[in-house]
């Protein structure tokens, strides 16, 4: 009985698919492993991470969504894997990226990471406060040594271009960067409570250990400042 029902549904669906579907290359199906990373990037990711009327995908309009264009490929693979595995769990990640990454296959992750790492970057069009950005430049280049914060450029590169698992930050949205610094900051506070033995489950970005103390060593104003500066970089 169940079998017959299945056969019937299958034939109905394939009829419908045959008659009405435009094929996998324009699919928005997040559950079908046969849909390529490039197709997903265009049909799904671009709505949040892209800009219309531009043939470059990965420079987002709303700062809720980070730019992905020109991001380090290794870092992209790591983050998509973290969304898929629910290890990265700051609120925006849970709300918006867990679902997107729910059925990612390693092949799709690889294709998506390749696709976005090759998209050309562009200057962030949103304005920042220049005085704030100037303060941020100093932190980026020299760190905040009183609090033991090393220069960001030491890891992220002199132009914040990133390297492998260390993300590109240049041109990234100020608001997004600030929110990530806040996530690392709250992870540091969890670590302090747990004598630096916090479980991954208790941390919003458990793979960001390198960033925890750094974020904590910047006060709120300094976090805004360095984020503003990074947004101005090209």
């Amino acid at each position: 009985m169940k079998h017959i029902a299945k056969v019937l549904t299958l034939s109905a669906i394939s009829l419908a698919l045959g008659a009405c579907s435009t094929g996998l290359d324009k699919s928005r199906n997040l559950g079908n492993p046969a849909v390529s990373g490039n197709t997903l990037a265009q049909q799904v990711c671009s709505i949040c991470h892209g800009e219309v009327g531009s043939n470059v995908n990965g420079n987002s309009v709303n700062p809720t969504f980070p730019n992905l264009a020109g991001q380090q490929k290794d870092y992209l693979v790591a983050e998509m894997t973290e969304f898929h595995e629910h290890t990265r769990k700051d609120p925006a990640a849970q709300d918006m990226m867990w679902g997107i990454a729910r059925n990612f296959t390693p092949k799709q992750i690889e294709e998506l990471a390749t696709y976005y790492s090759k998209q050309p970057t562009r200057a962030n069009p949103n304005p920042v406060n220049p005085a704030l950005a100037a303060e941020g430049a100093k932190i980026f280049n020299e760190g905040n040594l009183d609090k033991g914060v090393p220069a960001c450029m030491g890891c992220h590169g002199s132009n914040a271009e990133g390297n492998g698992p260390i993300p590109r930050l240049a041109g990234q949205h100020q608001d997004y960067l600030y929110k990530q610094l806040m996530a690392f900051n709250s992870d540091e506070m969890v670590e302090e409570k747990e004598n630096n033995n916090a479980k991954d489950d208790d941390l919003e970005r458990p793979h960001g250990v390198a960033m925890e103390g750094i974020a904590h060593g910047l006060d709120d104003h300094q976090k805004h400042a360095v984020a503003a500066y990074l947004q101005t970089l090209k």
């Binding site: 199906n29 049909q43 949040c48 009327g53 709303n62 997107i100 059925n103």
Partner: protein, 428 residues
């Protein structure tokens, strides 16, 4: 009951259908979680035919676990009207109850649906009917900077297709005016009076570069098939010959801001009372605009709509359906809502109707027959978690039947119709 949409849940295994389909939280598609207001992403989700995400595992093709595509919306509340009067006048308290079931979502890579049934008691006894429902076919071509979304839909109510929450159907007021008796005293443009399941329509739309939008549809009353309620306008049932609906819009997102301006309208050819009667024509033309700010923790939504209606009545109905051979109505609708952290929010709505006097259509004012009325609707709400919303809404009538104090021919003032309502809205 106008708009709503599906919300998500903390529990990834048992969440409303669209949230289950995409795995995303309410705030992804609804501005600050204030359903039914859609974000830019929510609009695209709808315009691409509800096809983004996964679908129930019918073909063993899908990777995710199977779950039934059903969700439920419960609303309960209590409304209080300023003054209790004789039978046809506002009652002092009313229970507000409604339950909706949803189904739909992704069917194929190009076809998806939104299906809602609502049962409720908003004062006039229980009923359970088909609410907003539509099936869409959509496709999106993207290459080298060209972006074109196009689609067709079948639905049961003009403006079900609205993605800018600037129609009576999908407006920001979750609980309607909630003064069932007062509603009869507040004339509305014909387009605002279409209810779900009262007509059937087909339409087609284009969205170019997520900037330029054009849509055309045609609606008529059901002549056969599933039983639905009749469209009621003014005092009784109305039947619609094929009537055109259209919408044009320009939209743009800049940073966290999203803008839309456009126009929409409908020409309704209506038989009053039964199919056999002569046709009255209502021409509704609206200018509409939307502004949104969408960046956690602040979310702002604002709408403006200016609608002009000119109606003309068949010669044999002048004197019975309407006193005049032709009338007009102007509607101004303004609203602004704000929510902090998608939790603590408020909405203020202003609605103003002015039009030509007609003693038959607008019988409340027995001296002038004025349709004019004006209301302010402040609301505050709290969304402790995304599936649950608690609110308090107050409707202040500053003008009714053309009067700002005692209405000629009545003992009532506009403020006697003022209504407050507490409500709980739960969606799962």
């Amino acid at each position: 009951m106008g708009g709503l949409a599906l919300a998500g849940s903390m529990n990834a295994n048992a969440i409303p259908i669209y949230a289950r389909q995409t795995g995303q939280a309410c705030v992804t598609c609804h501005l600050g979680g204030m359903y039914p207001q859609l974000t830019s992403y929510g609009r695209l989700f709808k315009l691409t035919g509800y096809t983004m995400g996964t679908r129930p595992n019918l073909t063993d093709l899908e990777v995710q676990k199977d779950a039934p595509p059903i969700s439920v919306w419960l609303q309960a509340g209590r409304g209080f009207t300023n003054k209790n009067n004789a039978a046809s006048q506002p009652g002092d308290t009313q229970n507000i109850q409604a339950i909706s079931l949803f189904s739909g979502g992704k069917i194929t890579d190009n076809i998806g649906g939104f299906l809602q049934w609502t049962g409720g008691n908003t004062g006039g006894g229980y009923n359970f009917t088909v609410d907003n429902s539509e099936i869409r076919y959509a496709d999106r071509n993207l290459n080298n900077g060209n972006d074109l979304i196009y689609g067709v839909y079948v639905n049961n109510h003009p403006t079900v297709s609205d993605v800018w929450n600037n129609t009576a159907n999908w407006n920001v007021i979750l609980m309607g005016f909630y003064n069932a008796n007062a509603a009869a005293q507040t004339p509305q443009p014909f387009l605002d009076q279409y209810g779900p399941g009262q007509s059937e329509g087909i339409g087609a739309y284009l969205y170019k570069d997520t900037t330029w939008y054009a849509e055309a549809g045609v609606y008529k009353s059901f002549t056969h098939g599933i039983a639905t309620t009749d469209l009621t306008a003014g005092s009784g049932s109305v039947f619609i010959d094929p009537s055109p609906y259209y919408r044009l819009a320009y939209s743009k997102d800049i940073g966290a801001h999203s803008f839309e301006v456009g126009m929409h309208g409908m020409i309704s050819y209506a038989h009053n009372g039964s199919w056999g009667t002569t046709v009255n024509t209502y021409r509704d033309t609206a200018l509409d605009a939307q502004y949104q700010y969408n960046l956690d923790p602040h979310y702002i939504g604002a709408h403006a709509r200016f609608l002009h209606e000119s109606s003309s009545f068949a010669g044999d109905q002048v004197g019975t359906t309407a006193a005049n051979g032709s009338n007009y109505l102007n509607e101004a609708w303004l609203d602004v809502s704000y929510v902090y952290q998608a939790k603590y929010g408020g909405t203020l709505t202003y609605r103003n109707i002015t039009g030509s006097n007609d003693l038959t259509l607008n019988a409340l004012n027995t001296t002038t027959g004025s349709p004019n009325w004006q209301a302010w609707i402040p609301e505050i709400f709290w969304t402790p978690w995304q599936n649950l919303r608690l609110g308090f809404q107050y409707t202040v009538y500053t003008q009714m039947a053309g009067a700002t104090s005692v209405i000629p021919g009545q003992t009532l003032k506009p403020s006697d119709f003022n209504t407050s309502a507490f409500y709980v809205s739960f969606i799962y």
